[in-house]
Symmetry: C2
Subunit: 625 residues, 2 copies
């Protein structure tokens, strides 16, 4: 026990008392890595996902990245202002689930809940697989170990997160700021080059030739590009969901954090799009030979192939893998919120040693591992499932906020802002669903449906249990009636005597059951008068009845259970107490030397019994050495 | 339930009542296959094992097979007469274990028991692997599936044996008689050819050339040959161990069966040895190319390569694989006998649906599977472990019989017969142990030691339990003292009310435990006076005490268990009854929606509690649909 506690403390930190909770609260400096890592890191795969779809257009594709990115940034701005209002309205944490269920009803809330849970799991899976995938494109020799590396990263993230949210902020701060800082420097230098070359900069190291155009522009293609690019917006709602994690004044700190994240993300997305166009950087095929990521090409075009290149790419790899951490911070909070409304099992309400909702983390880790294993850790196969959940949640959240302000009366500007957000994200949701449906969005749609059915089933169970057990009146003092006590006996021993004495202290109606498998009567029946009946009669006590059950097929438990159920049926008013004597051994292996009939009897009685049957365990402990 | 019963009946036969036992008893015709299959089938590998070691001697080796076989047959005759006397003395079944422990003491008995158990497991493993190995030498394409085929045969044997001993006899009768019959015909025709060719018969199909001599004769080599040839004698004690399986008159039937088995085995061994010498048949290397078994060469030399050859070899293959069946018949009987003396777990005493000691079969199957898997189903690797156990048991059994007759007084002839048997088998045991030690007999020696230690540990446990629980006086009618009742409560509900009512019927000293993890008092504490205390006080009943336990680290079970143990320590005379209310759900999956604290509490109390702590389960059943 002390050793394993030490190991737990080393791995997960010492246990925290409930009263230590405030110490976990954070400011914007720690909040940006925790809640913004996912949003910021998506700058590493969002533009690339869009550019990959533009490859068939050749040079024209590189030009179209600017208007597509502009559309995404407009959407991002709308969403930003919407979520600022959510933070104002829900200082206790206004995730889409809370906002949708409170304002649009439980159905909308469940839809948001299911969408978000799937999206968080995908955030974890995509973050890990993209990070590992980028590492592999830098070091192709590691390719055969893709899945193993993904699972190893998942394990490390789990251990880090089990220590609790505060330690996590510190661990993730350096990579996040390094990633943002290096990329901003690349963008700044790149912009300077562009200005000084009147828009035609020379790359520091040669870039691959632009692909030959094989398709022409179409609205459908642009919509698909927009949908893929929108993966850059996932993770934006994390701050509003976790407002309560900030130190006071929580609202102000949360809004500052959200603003900084959005500004940084905008700068990254805009800078990448403009520089790609200026330098003429097109994506390379992700599954073909000579693949190189867009950020890698951009960085070496601007900064050359020196130490800064490796620093930048290193921080990209690290931050991509760690972006999964947003899911670790938010998924358990979400499942807790759903469990509070009885739509998820109540284990999600339990807080572990470090004030975390441990079961949320367990489930997230398990499902992420399943996703990684099923899709073999390949980002390309996961991307089509992604984003739909986030945008569905965005839409429900904004719509809910419209209703929220409407109900509060007045505030037409706030209604306008959230209404615009709802409209924009709603249209985006439809676009993403339609353009990605056959590529994998159908899986997400199916999972959402299944989860809604599951959550409704869980809710119905809790409602039913609550209805059947709730009691709104004080205790009814009943007359004390003696129970009928049933005691299975095997042979005359101290164990039997102890159980019998206990039975005598409970009732005058005692039935001792003996199962007889041979034809001649066993010793306990022959000596019953001498050992039990006579002494008790002499002492003026009631005498237990000995019931012998014949069992020609050598079954022991069946006749006992049948007798107990028969007794229960016949006696309408009495409780039936079944005494189960049990030998408690000193070492686990000694259990192998005794049949487990006592355990089996308890299980069978629990399954086949009813409320009037009570099982009483009479333990007999072997003396310790 | 009905469906699975039907499947059980189909596979294993309908259940048999204890009173149907006589119907299982058998006569010599069924007894020969059951108890003799192992002994008879060893004619297929005993001579071959001896001849394989004689290969280096070339022509001289083929000549030496006759005197070596003669020595083995003399030993067999001695053992036969010894076991006839055992059947007389032990009509209830006189296995080596029984005879040794009754006459030589428990140490010798355990030695015999361990030796026999290992030997039965090896009988099963060698029988199966030899059968499969022979099949493979006839059809080399099956070689990669050796282990799979071995395990498949083991599975078939298990199913057949689960039907019970009577059905088994019928199933195995045809192969056994076919095997013995075809081989005797081969020997008869061969002998006729030998006589009509004045000792120099011409083989019907050409035989391989005799190997070139590469070694000279030595005593050590002859002893090794003798040791290997002695594997032909394993299985001889099966009849005397299973006397009680015969129908009355059991002794006479058992002796007839034993005699027939020994006569047949002698005819086979002598015939094979003489014909090998006459035809000049040497063994071929078992792991080299062009391998052919001795019986195969002999059969086609005498009968030609026609249908009779295939019939003979087919029955050899079948009987070898099925020889393992002797172990199935005898191993469970042996473990039962050991368990009756408390040296093995008592589960080996339980008789299953078909009057078999099922656990003996389970363990035999499991250990045989382990042996087959470890040695990859190759007979050659198993042979060195074999025979030592059988001869150790023979020796102990004969020595025990000497003491038996000595104690009964008189009977000098019987003492002489068993004494000769003890001496002969004792010397053989030493020879086998020494000549095979480094080849694998050390494994057997090690296992025997481990098993003896294990059996002594089991015995000590049972003796201790018996000593601690035995009671040789009638019940002491004690004064009835009210127990202290402890009831963990979570919130006010019907479940709480039911448990509380039950507690009130048991005692006036009731402690309701509530674990508080937050700082403000929970609802049940606030409403205690209104819901519980006031109504009971009004009704003139005793009022349960509400104990609130603070738990800053949110543990629930630890404070409850600590409190219960503290109560137990303080109150020296009262029993402590812990009431555990438990919700019983309707479907298994609903268990996932409720924490299993009730189960955990029961387990922890059982582990950390003591004799004065009694656990009472108060089940609350959700209403069925």
């Amino acid at each position: 026990m002390p050793l394993s506690s030490d190991i737990q403390n080393l791995l997960f930190g010492r246990p925290l008392a409930t009263s230590e909770e405030r110490a976990e609260h954070i400011g914007p400096v720690a909040g940006i890595p925790i809640f913004g890592l996912d949003a910021l890191s998506s700058a590493a795969y969002g533009p690339e996902a869009a550019l990959t779809l533009l490859i068939p257009l050749g040079l024209l594709g590189v030009k179209y990245i600017v208007p597509v990115s502009a559309a995404i940034l407009i959407l991002l701005a709308i969403v930003y202002f919407s979520y600022r209002q959510t933070i104002d309205a829900y200082p206790q944490g206004g995730g889409s689930y809370t906002v949708a269920s409170q304002n649009l009803g439980e159905g909308a809330g469940l839809l948001a809940a299911a969408a978000l849970m799937i999206d968080y799991i995908l955030t974890a899976a995509v973050g890990i697989s993209a990070g590992v995938g980028a590492l592999i494109s830098a070091a192709p020799g590691l390719q055969p170990y893709t899945l193993e590396m993904c699972l190893a990263v998942l394990l490390i993230l789990t251990l880090v997160n089990m220590r609790g949210v505060h330690d996590t902020g510190v661990v993730f701060m350096i990579p996040t700021y390094l990633f943002t800082g290096t990329l901003l420097i690349v963008i700044a230098f790149g912009s300077w080059h562009v200005l000084h070359s009147t828009g035609h900069p020379l790359p520091a190291t040669p870039l691959p030739a632009l692909p030959v155009a094989t398709a022409t522009i179409s609205l459908w293609l642009l919509l698909k590009v927009f949908s893929s690019g929108c993966t850059a917006m996932t993770g934006v709602e994390a701050v509003s969901n976790g407002v309560m994690a900030f130190r006071d004044d929580t609202r102000r700190n949360a809004k500052i954090t959200l603003t900084i994240i959005i500004v940084l993300l905008t700068a990254l997305l805009a800078g990448i799009a403009l520089l790609c166009r200026a330098y003429g950087i097109a994506a390379t095929k992700p599954d073909g030979p000579g693949y190189e990521s867009v950020l890698s090409m951009l960085t070496r075009a601007v900064m050359g192939h020196g130490w800064f290149y490796y620093l930048t790419i290193g921080s990209v790899l690290l931050v991509l893998a760690l972006s999964a951490n947003t899911a670790f911070a938010d998924f358990p909070r979400l499942t807790r919120a759903i469990a509070l409304d009885d739509y998820m099992p109540h284990v999600f309400l339990l807080r572990g040693r470090r004030l975390l909702y441990s079961w949320g983390i367990y489930v997230l880790v398990a499902l992420t591992a399943v996703l990684l294993i099923v899709f073999r850790g390949v980002t390309d196969r996961l991307i089509p499932l992604y984003a739909i959940g986030a945008f569905l949640a965005f839409t429900l959240s904004q719509s809910g906020m419209v209703v929220h302000w409407w109900r509060k009366g007045g505030a037409p500007l706030r209604i306008l802002v959230n209404g615009l957000g709802a409209l924009a994200t709603g249209i985006t949701t439809l676009v993403v669903l339609v353009t990605k449906f056959t590529d994998g969005a159908w899986i997400t749609a199916l999972l959402v449906t299944i989860m809604i059915v599951g959550m409704n089933t869980v809710k119905r169970h809790y409602v039913r249990v609550d209805r059947e057990t709730a009691l709104d009146r004080p205790i009814l003092p009943a007359e004390v009636t003696q129970p009928i006590v049933v005691l299975p006996v095997d042979h005359w021993s101290r164990i039997t005597e102890k159980a019998l004495s206990f039975a005598l202290s409970m009732s005058n109606d005692i039935r001792c059951l003996h199962v007889q498998t041979a034809q001649e009567p066993d010793e306990i029946c022959r000596d019953w008068e001498k050992n039990v009946a006579a002494p008790l009669r002499t002492a003026g006590k009631s005498v237990p009845q000995l019931v012998t059950l014949q069992s020609p097929f050598r079954y022991v438990l069946h006749p006992v259970v049948d007798y107990i159920l028969a007794v229960e049926r016949e006696s309408t008013f009495h409780k039936v107490c079944v005494l189960v004597p049990e030998l408690v051994v000193r070492h686990w292996w000694e259990n192998l030397l005794h049949n487990r009939r006592a355990d089996l009897l308890k299980v069978i009685l629990l399954m086949r019994g009813n409320r009037r049957i009570v099982v009483i365990n009479i333990p007999w402990y072997l003396e310790r050495d």
